[in-house]
């Protein structure tokens, strides 16, 4: 399978703080989840992959071009990239169509007719085609997030890098998002940075977990979930040394990790269980 992204010993520092530390992995077509607590380096890594910033050490190539190379090399990457930042604030007074029209111009859609047709296409993909002329400030949070996602789809790029795309989406919108992503994964590469472990279980082929700037896990989703097998318990009381404990809808208590009390049964693990066991309680503070 062709390699879309090659990351080799990438390191990024901000002053004395090392935010990414000797990170290496390859990405091929399919959907890869990028998990990690806040401050783990996900957004920094995404900045490097999207050519917005450069590593202090190591090498990153995307479609064979260096992400920190001369401008023409970075331009070649950008021509095949769809990028969704964690947060997008829109210029005042702008309409949904106007915003996408601008991003399409930035993506070199110079023919007005073709550009407008493409804008209408991506509006339709995210379900906003019924309100193209509405001012962005009148859209709900979820609709704005869908609009931001729509810009990443302009030009049907070969590589999608999405930073927390489902934040603020309702269940129906998330289902639609997953369907769109699944369709994209048939012929492209998607890197999905998220805190939503349900999205990982639903659509991702592979999961990379960053903890404190280093790769703590890299493998397929089934293998990741399997790391929590026989470490998740259902009982009638909390496990004292568990990583996390909460009331199960069935009336029992679900505990992740720890020593099972008498009578507790092993429960089928989830992506979230595996993540909690890997990251542990201290790193969970502040995580969305």
């Amino acid at each position: 399978m062709p390699t879309t992204i090659h990351v080799s010993h990438a390191t990024r520092r901000y002053g004395p703080t090392t935010v990414l530390d000797d990170v290496s992995f390859d990405l091929a077509p399919g959907i890869t989840a990028l998990l990690g607590p806040n401050g783990a380096g996900k957004t920094t890594l995404i900045g490097l992959l999207s050519t917005a910033s450069r590593p202090d050490a190591g090498e990153i190539t995307v479609f064979g071009h260096r992400s920190d190379g001369p401008l023409p090399e970075r331009i070649e990457i950008r021509r095949r990239l769809g990028f969704l930042p964690q947060e997008v604030r829109f210029p005042a007074g702008m309409t949904a169509f106007g915003f996408l029209d601008y991003i399409a111009v930035l993506k070199e859609w110079d023919d007005t007719g073709a550009r407008h047709a493409e804008v209408r296409r991506v509006l339709s993909v995210v379900g906003l085609d019924d309100r193209p002329t509405i001012k962005v400030r009148k859209l709900s949070g979820g609709q704005r997030r869908r609009l931001a996602f729509a810009q990443a789809l302009i030009g049907d790029p070969d590589l999608l890098i999405l930073d927390e795309p489902t934040t603020g989406l309702d269940p129906e919108q998330r289902a639609r998002f997953r369907a769109t992503l699944s369709e994209r994964a048939r012929h492209g590469t998607v890197l999905l940075a998220t805190h939503q472990t349900e999205d990982v279980a639903a659509v991702c082929d592979r999961v990379i977990v960053l903890v404190a700037g280093r790769v703590a896990h890299d493998g397929d989703v089934a293998g990741f979930v399997a790391t929590a097998r026989n470490r998740v318990w259902l009982g009638d009381r909390p496990v004292a040394d568990a990583v996390a404990t909460w009331r199960d809808p069935g009336g029992g208590v679900r505990s992740v990790g720890g020593t099972p009390p008498p009578g507790a049964e092993a429960a089928p693990p989830t992506v979230e269980d595996a993540y909690l066991l890997l990251v542990g309680p201290p790193a969970m503070e502040g995580a969305a």
Partner: protein, 282 residues
Amino acid sequence: MSAWHVDDAVVTAYGERRLDAVQRASVEAHAARCQECRDILGTRVVGDQRSPALDLDRLWTRVESAVSTPKVGRADRALLRLGLSMSDVVVTRVVAAQSRQWTIATTLVLAVTAVTAVLGPVDSAHTAFLVVAPLLPALGVAAIYRLVPHGIDMLERAAPYSPARLLLWRTAYVVVTAVPISVAAGVAVLQHPWAAVSWLLPALGCTLCVVAAASWHDPVRPAAAVAMGWTAVVVTWQVRDTPWAIATAPTQLVAAAIAAAAALVIHHRLSNDPTRPVFGGP
């Protein structure tokens, strides 16, 4: 519905566009209500010969396009007449939307300076104007850079559109909006036509220095350095009691030389950005 239906002669004339506007509209109005005639026209009149009124899919696409497409306003049409492409107009619209606060701030600063000139000591107003006016475009470049909303800046950096070209659009917008009102304020404050425009070359020098530096770095620090340097020059003139030194040939020559040097640097930077021409294009 009338008993009249389209016959072969009408269909042929319609397809060959030999009907005048009234006859054509009459046929289409009838076909809109008559399925039989719509089928005949739809089958026998093909491609571009077919009226959009008879092709509902194409008609709907046109309606959808007309409704969703942003209207081309008066300012847009003026830019198109100047030779800009529609893509350039789209960029200009967004730059203007991002820069609204800057435009308001510029107008307020100059208004305050003009009012000060009318109400307060003349020397103070002159000094204030000579400090402010040449710096406004340079500071505007830095201010607009910071006014780009969070997230949009990242999208701009991740897009193939030339960053140098975007910087030049923003600079052009600042110059076009700041200079006319500065000249007007200058006439009010300095009360002499030559003096009122004598700051233009220094302003050009300051602005181009910031733009040249911005092709490498965040323009805020270069703008701050230029502002401090220019303020020191004006204060020195005041201290030496030569407030009109700005209007002398040596000052204008030095300003022109600095502007030319900065322009050369910008040209060099742009020529290393082979992705797009600086101006024009489709």
